[in-house]
Symmetry: C2
Subunit: 358 residues, 2 copies
């Protein structure tokens, strides 16, 4: 639908000193990767492989599946639209709150859409959907499903195809991928991003893996030359250079837990506990749009107003943790905003509703 929910950093330019609004890893693009990219610029002079054959082969070997079960996509978002097109007019169950592109893709291709809270995976079969869409870990709340839970659903609902979005798997503690289940189940599509942990969302690179039987169906709905030549080269490079893997994950996740704990202690703020580098918080007395604007204008800090996630209200904010210093700035800014800093230590208001401290 070309709305591009959230991720509006580009609208604010230099105004933003720290960006907590995007879920990519809190690191710089690895220098080695930028250096590699600089050597590849001339590849733009020829057409890319129409179906990213070399990268598909590399991913197939790495993931222990046949290369024909792998589809490289122009970002994981493109994969969702390909799936929705291939299952046109299906009954789709979307577990919410979740990434808006699942339902947008379904709507574009005339699905009948049902919504359930993402805690109710066990009831997935109840509406007899042909497709179930879920994020694991889920964006925006960091909800995690055990591989066993998903496997059980695959088993119990053989006529339902499960689309499992693992884009944020590498940025989450306790995550279990279900990719290896594609060789045991015919009703599973696993979608991955290759840009979140390496901080490359501008390059557009994702992939999906599925069973042999579903692969043929997805193939007839794939658009040729969809993945640019630089992204294909980078994909192969990343697979062959494991040392670029996001090694600092544990530190990031520790910072996330710390920040969640500190926010929880603030009056009028409720944190939804998350094992990921991002988490949701509710600002009970303040609208998310107001908090976002004030953090941006007064402090140069950009957070994600999460009000437009279906199932959330207009008091929801998503935070992606950054460096220790940046997190500290965000915390202090929030404290100031809600007036804590002006109160005497120890006299923390018990009133859970907030007022802006102008």
């Amino acid at each position: 639908m070309i709305e591009g929910h959230g991720n509006d950093l580009y609208r604010y330019g230099d105004k933003v000193k720290s960006d907590f609004s995007s879920n990519v890893a809190a690191r710089r693009v690895p220098d080695a990767l930028l250096a590699f990219l600089a050597t590849q610029l001339e590849t733009i002079a020829t057409y890319p492989e129409p179906d990213s054959e070399t990268l598909r082969n590399a991913l197939g070997s790495r993931l222990h599946v046949d290369a024909n079960q792998v589809f490289v996509a122009n970002g994981s978002v493109e994969a969702f639209y390909t799936i929705a097109a291939a299952f046109r007019q299906s009954r789709s169950l979307v577990l919410i709150p979740s990434f808006a592109e699942y339902e947008d893709a379904c709507r574009m291709h005339d699905h009948t859409i049902f919504y359930k809270s993402n805690e109710q995976l066990c009831e997935a079969g109840i509406v007899c959907p042909q497709l179930v869409w879920l994020g694991n870990p889920n964006n925006p709340d960091g909800r995690l499903y055990a591989a066993k839970e998903i496997e059980e659903q695959l088993l119990q609902n053989p006529d339902t195809v499960f689309v499992v979005d693992e884009a944020y798997g590498e940025l989450c503690s306790g995550f279990e991928s279900v990719i290896d289940l594609v060789n045991r189940f015919d009703n599973l599509i696993v979608v991955h991003s290759m840009t979140k942990q390496y901080v490359l969302p501008g390059l557009r690179l994702g992939y999906m893996v599925t069973s042999r039987s579903l692969a043929a169906r997805l193939r007839s709905f794939s658009v040729p030359w969809a993945v640019n030549a630089l992204a294909q080269k980078v994909g192969v490079y990343l697979i062959n250079n494991e040392e670029l893997y996001f090694r600092n994950k544990e530190n990031t996740l520790r910072r996330s837990i710390e920040l969640q704990k500190r926010f929880s202690a603030l009056p009028g703020i409720t944190v939804i506990p998350s094992p990921c580098n991002f988490f949701l918080l509710r600002t009970d007395g303040l609208e998310a749009s107001v908090v976002k604007e004030k953090l941006l204008n007064d402090f140069g800090l950009l957070v994600r107003d999460a009000s437009n996630f279906r199932g959330l209200d207009n008091h929801s904010i998503r935070i992606s943790v950054q460096t220790e210093e940046e997190n500290e700035k965000l915390f202090i800014a929030m404290e100031k905003m809600i007036g804590i800093r002006n109160q005497k230590s120890g006299s923390k208001s018990q009133d859970k509703s907030l007022t802006i401290n102008n």
Copy 2:
């Protein structure tokens, strides 16, 4: 359909010394552009604009249309699939021979497809199509329609939407764009590529322009974040740097006419005259696949076996002219292949069927 008809350079690697198989301009990527690209690599670290707003605005100003009438695409191929999706299950007339992606896109979205020779634009309305797809200039034969011809069709068939693919306009003599007609007609979509004249097909960048009324329809079938950040930056850069425009076009077209003339004089070879940097030839007695293999294996020259264009048979080859020296090599190789070089000068065979000279 992810088949990627033609453009198989990537399959042959170092074996290819000269590539006559791809229709991009016979030049190197401009150095200034590569230098610019090198300064933009860090943009991959953030999400691109979801609908290429900055580039749309720049194109809108340049083309004298509202930015909302412009859609930036992940290569012009993506535009064809977006159009086909937006006009799902239409009656589509495809003028052939032409780029296979028109019909592939229609097939993906369940159109009923009719075919007519591309000489019969004047009869376009006869099958009462909802969509007419045509290349101007047309790939693979270089056929050119006058703007007046297209305007007449728009006028005579107000209920038919004309998709005019102008991807090769800049590589053709006498080409007249119909972009300015989008403000006068509600039934026109013009598709452009930004990569052909600058030799950037690996980057993926195209756009389409249409009337305000069709724009809303196309918008609901566009996928967000489809155009990578580097392509968007390059697009704006190209619009602001007219000096990078393909100034050597006339030379290239002169070389094309020369080469067509020389090939026409060879026995057993028929050239379809083309005002573009590419043209079709028929090798009467030899299969195109055999000619292609032999040119590749014996001479390192890659041509496009055009047999798989609907409406052409397996004796059709498409040549995109290159430098004077490269064209000379191709001509000599063809002469050798068909045995002319071994015959005494002046005793040119009158037999129009060819045999390979092993």
